[in-house]
């Protein structure tokens, strides 16, 4: 079997055992990228030499007898929203085109410490705002299952790269579903850790109280290995939780869910959901029951108000977070011809540098925070957020995890929702509550929808700092379905 078909765990073991070198593994993936990138366009930045340099360094350390972690030498695609010293970082925005950060994000630094080899920076919706990666200022990314479909978003470059076998692993960030939704629509595993469980330092902020770095992989164990590699307390991020990382790898290796209590969220999965999505979802719930779990229905009525609350809180924070892009210290500068004031240069730069969705959210947020409107919008949304957190707490008194479809539909067509922001926002209907409450949530593949043959994701939600439960349930679903299917859902990327 070719190297690109291996799991990350297998590659790590082969490299550690001297069966193959990190350089060989990197080259296999670089070659795959050269082959499929013209169609998929998952990456914004690829630099073969920088990648091979990293791989050579790992090989040298292994040769010197150094004991490295389980992912040493394994290639990874890195979302272009994490700063990297040796590669440009743009957040897929014209306003940062060509910017080379002077520092590594904590996640980047921990990937390097774990010996992962960064293949390049992946595409995303500009500043992680979107659900299709069509909002990238540079180019859209295509879904490897069907090149006319979106790969989800905002981390669509990362989901597409893994689904297209360009990389066994990738990083993402999840603010309203930006890891779970792309994972679901590309048939891979995506995990949003507990908020504060992974560091935001060096992650270009969209909405500070929601942004959460997390892993993508083609299987649950690989996701757990990556989760463990970059998570944990970071003194550079004040909102980072000073607690041990939940034992996710152990959970992924022990998919025993007999006796576990699983709650089906009543509010998600009714009218408005694609029939093929619902069919796979209901089968998955039955599967969980057949594996010995006790399944009960749980009502969380406020979850239906999560979407509007999110679209007040996230834009409010973004309107402030993106104020720093002002042409003064880095990035694009427009109109600085010696005749204009600093304020005019700021305004011209921001007008030219931000795309339409980013501008829409900055305006929404500016309005929601304005004097006289704050209480009605931002203040009210914060109250909804508190209520949602309480409903999660109450639900987790009754059950160990909650489940729902990850998304109401499978991957939609490129351009289909581009002019309809409301339709686009609905893609995150089921994922947003966990962002507002800060709890852990995962998407695992649970089959293909009958009507379009595209992947469907099952969302597994666990309490704050109980990330391991997502992995335990996810691994159980994966194991059972793979034995039914006779192998992984994603044996190959069908359209490539």
């Amino acid at each position: 079997m070719s190297l690109i078909r291996k799991t990350a765990a297998e590659l790590g073991a082969m490299i550690a055992g001297g069966e193959v070198t990190a350089v060989e593994v990197a080259e296999a993936h670089l070659d795959r990228m050269a082959e499929v990138e013209p169609k998929v366009q998952a990456f914004l930045h690829v630099d073969r030499e920088t990648t091979l340099e990293q791989a050579r360094a790992i090989d040298a350390r292994l040769k010197a007898g150094e004991k490295l972690g389980p992912l040493a030498g394994v290639p990874i695609a890195h979302k272009d929203i994490f700063t990297t010293r040796d590669m440009p970082t743009t957040a897929a925005s014209k306003i940062l085109e060509g910017w080379r950060p002077p520092y590594d994000a904590t996640v980047t630094a921990r990937l390097r410490e774990a010996g992962l080899v960064i293949l390049g920076k992946t595409n995303l919706d500009e500043f992680a705002m979107g659900s299709s990666t069509e909002n990238s200022a540079f180019h859209p990314t295509r879904n490897p299952w069907d090149l006319t479909k979106v790969p989800g978003g905002s981390s669509g470059g990362s989901s597409a790269a893994v689904a297209a076998y360009e990389a066994p692993l990738s990083t993402g960030t999840d603010t309203g579903g930006s890891i779970r939704q792309p994972a679901a629509v590309t048939g891979i595993v995506g995990m949003k850790p507990t908020y504060g469980g992974s560091s935001r330092y060096g992650l270009i902020a969209f909405a500070s109280s929601l942004d959460t770095p997390g892993p993508f992989a083609r299987n649950v164990l690989d996701a757990a290995l990556l989760h463990e590699a970059f998570s944990g307390h970071d003194p550079m991020d004040s909102t980072s939780i000073d607690a041990p990382v939940p034992s996710v790898v152990e959970a992924a290796k022990n998919p025993d869910i007999a006796g576990m209590r699983i709650g089906v969220v009543r509010e998600f999965g009714g009218e408005g959901y694609q029939p093929g999505v619902l069919a796979r979802y209901h089968e998955a719930v039955q599967l969980l029951e057949s594996l010995g779990a006790k399944v009960v229905e749980v009502s969380c009525p406020s979850f239906t108000t999560a979407l509007p609350a999110y679209y007040l809180i996230a834009p409010s924070e973004c309107s402030s977070n993106l104020a720093r892009f002002d042409a003064m210290r880095y990035g694009l500068r427009v109109g600085d011809d010696g005749t204009r004031s600093a304020e005019e240069v700021m305004a011209l730069t921001r007008a030219a540098g931000f795309g339409p969705e980013v501008k829409r959210r900055i305006m929404l947020g500016t309005y929601a925070l304005s004097s006289g409107y704050y209480d009605a919008y931002y203040g009210q949304a914060q109250k909804v957020r508190t209520v949602i957190s309480r409903e999660f707490e109450a639900a987790f008194q009754q059950v160990d995890v909650l489940v729902s479809p990850t998304t109401p539909t499978t991957a939609f067509s490129i351009g289909e929702r581009a002019d309809d922001p409301m339709a686009m926002y609905l893609a995150d209907l089921c994922t947003i509550p966990s962002n507002l409450a800060g709890n852990a949530a995962m998407s695992v593949p649970c089959g293909l929808a009958d009507e379009d043959g595209l992947p469907v994701g099952l969302q597994i939600m666990a309490p704050v700092l109980a990330d391991d439960r997502c992995y335990r349930v996810g691994a159980a679903v994966e194991q059972a379905l793979e034995s039914r299917w006779g192998g992984p859902l994603l044996k190959e990327a069908p359209s490539l």
Partner: protein, 497 residues
Amino acid sequence: MTMLYDEALDRFEPVLGLETHVELGTRSKMFCGCKTTFGAPPNTQVCPTCLAFPGALPVANAKAIESTIRIGLALNCSIAEWCRFARKNYFYPDMPKNYQISQYDEPLCYDGYIDVEVNGETVRIEIERVHLEEDTGKSTHVGGATGRIHGADYSIVDYNRAGIPLVEIVTKPIPGTDRLAPEVAKAYVTELREIMRSLGVSDVRMEEGSLRCDVNVSLMPRGSSEWGTRTETKNVNSLRSVERAVRSEIERQAGVLAEGGKIVQETRHFHEDTGTTTSGRSKEEAQDYRYFPEPDLVPIAPDPAWVAELKAALPELPSVRRKRLQAEWGLSDLDMQAMHNADAFDLVEATVAAGAPAADARKWWMGELARRANETGTSLAELPITPAQIARVTELVASGALNDKLAREVLEGVLAGEGTPDEVVEKRGLQIVNDEGELSAIIDQVLADNADAADKVRSGKIAAAGALVGGVMRASKGKADAARARQLILEKLGVSE
């Protein structure tokens, strides 16, 4: 037309409000590890966080939070059990994030007061809030007439100051100061400065901007109880300017009101050279700061037990200390005021602690040493002499080993680096002549050399003895005990006083 101060006060009553910013003297900035050294080359004390690079995050400086709580406690404030930072959003090139991390409706300290003395009267100033925020960078506008951003050819920004911890102390409105308004304002800022110094939280140098004051003034007609529209005067950079700014704004507003005009709620700038204020931006067009809780930081929840510890460990506050020292030393209000102005309390107190009588300690520090400090343009504390050395000199004078003249020479020697007082006495040979035989011999010689004067004394013109004593002092190079010499001269000439 401005109105003369006395006339303005005949017709109007002022209401004051003071907002003071204190830069804390922490070693690192408020939200990153950058140094805070004043006067470093531009943009050398910066990092991704204080330059607001994408992805960089703030981490709050624990020492700054502690200092702010100590300030709050010293100002008799309540300390919040739970509060948050907030973002104040506005665009300005010297503010890297284009928002300032500050506090909004949840200040760390609130509802306090301090008492200040003006003309022997105690005035209580109520404190609305004390909160913690970060400073901005410093813009310099080059070209143009005003030195302000509008009309400048270009501007340069130094971000070294961006992110230095800044404590804002806001008073409640202060009515009832009447004619003393300017003095009250100055006394308040002076007292605040003393308190910051005693706490050791800031070097509070107004000229370096580590203490900045905005002065709010409004007027209401005598007999009215409805406050007028206020203005906020910035750029008040010395204690004297605080007083002048209040006075000038009272005169200006009275003039406007007397002519039937309206006071515009606005920011005004104080000009040191003219002592007057000019209009800045109008508050009516002021921005909506869109405050919201800072999501990058966790709430501050100081443990009440820790706050109690900080309170118990507060140093003696300046006003309390002044009262105690005055009672202990038995010195006049005038002496105390002079020492206050010369910043001599610590030195005098240490000198007294080393054994000197308070009156002597005051006399040396405020006399000879103040003169020397003045000549060399240094502060008393910077003189190369210690309170213990002054105490030793007073001891030598009290024991009769030195007289005042010799004592001044000893001080000169110590200041010149010749060693301790005892070493200077030894090296310069400054001991008073106590040997009666030696003194007697000197006197005999002086009487022989000044026969005329000696005859005058013998004939009863005792006043002429002064010249003879002077001769003895000259002959002994000042080391004779003048009183004893006079006594012996009169004895030898057979006269008595």
